[in-house]
Amino acid sequence: MDGMQPASPAGIEDDGWTVAGRRFRSRLVVGTGKYKDLPETAAAIEASGAEIVTVAVRRVNLSDPKSPMLQDYVDPKRWTYLPNTAGCHTAQEAVRTLRLAREAGGWNLVKLEVLGPPPFLYPDMAATFEAAEALIRDGFEVMVYCADDPVAAKRLEEMGCVAIMPLGAPIGSGLGLQNPAMLSILIEQASVPVLVDAGIGTASDAAIAMEIGCDAVLLNSAIAHARNPVLMARAMAAAVQAGRLAHLAGRMPRKMGADPSSPLTGLIR
């Protein structure tokens, strides 16, 4: 390894992660929403180094069928599209939306989220169970957005979800991990990948998520709503690498007293 490029992807190629049999090097998954325009979306995603991007499914605007589409800026051949069910508040809506997504994209790896009412849009776990069951029966590979509830998370895993994605804080709040203790419990008990999804506000939040042992981090607003999205995308790429490396390295123990870094012998007198 070259100390001059400590955080280059090359350095951690051997430390990728696998979901539903697919292998990825980047542990940063990014959303494609909330950007000023499609060129900014493309530039930020490029800068993030992400290999998976979440996308929404919406009606074509028939009054302007020639308007540019996401695929024209973010090539589905290069990035793995992960269709989501944002805006769905019932299991039925979510299942119907993802069937359309599967037909539009031709793959079955999806992000399920069934949300409670505004303003908090907290995951509705009862409806999420129902939708997950129907989707898995229908052959989907479900990465599921969920509460930081270890019982619910275990049940989703047992149902066959391929990744558990608990929220770190209310979606779009940027408050950072509100409940690291509970997230650690979810990670400890999970045998599928765990991603923190929602709540990340800045780079150190993403680093902390990786340090506690997440397999990857999913975020959107933290980049799209930064003053400079492209710079923040690079910050997040570095933060996820930093947190992962720190997790692998094993942090020093915390001490209350001080402990000098220079030897106390051989002092001049």
Binding site: G31, T32, G33, K34, Y35, L38, T41, T54, V55, A56, V57, R58, R59, V60, L62, P65, K66, M69, L70, Q71, Y81, P83, N84, A86, R96, R99, L100, A101, E103, A104, G105, I171, L219, N220, S221, A224
Partner: protein
């Protein structure tokens, strides 16, 4: 004439009409959209042979930016 609902709006179209010809008339790239007819997916492979009927409810969707 066919009266049907397209992405939630009422439309009157020249009959007979297949999904394929509808998409063509709308100028949509079939590789970038998906079609649902009366809450049933219409597989891309069937566009040419799927004839629309009066009262059909169609949804034509694509991917957009989302988190």
């Amino acid at each position: 004439m066919l009266e049907l609902t397209l992405n939630g709006e009422a439309r009157r179209l020249e009959a007979p009409l297949t999904v394929a010809s509808l998409l063509a008339s709308l100028g949509l790239d079939t590789r970038k959209v998906a079609v649902e007819r009366n809450e049933e997916i219409v597989p891309r492979s069937r566009y040419a042979e799927t004839w629309l009927a009066p009262g059909d409810a169609l949804e034509i969707v694509h991917f957009i930016g989302g988190g």
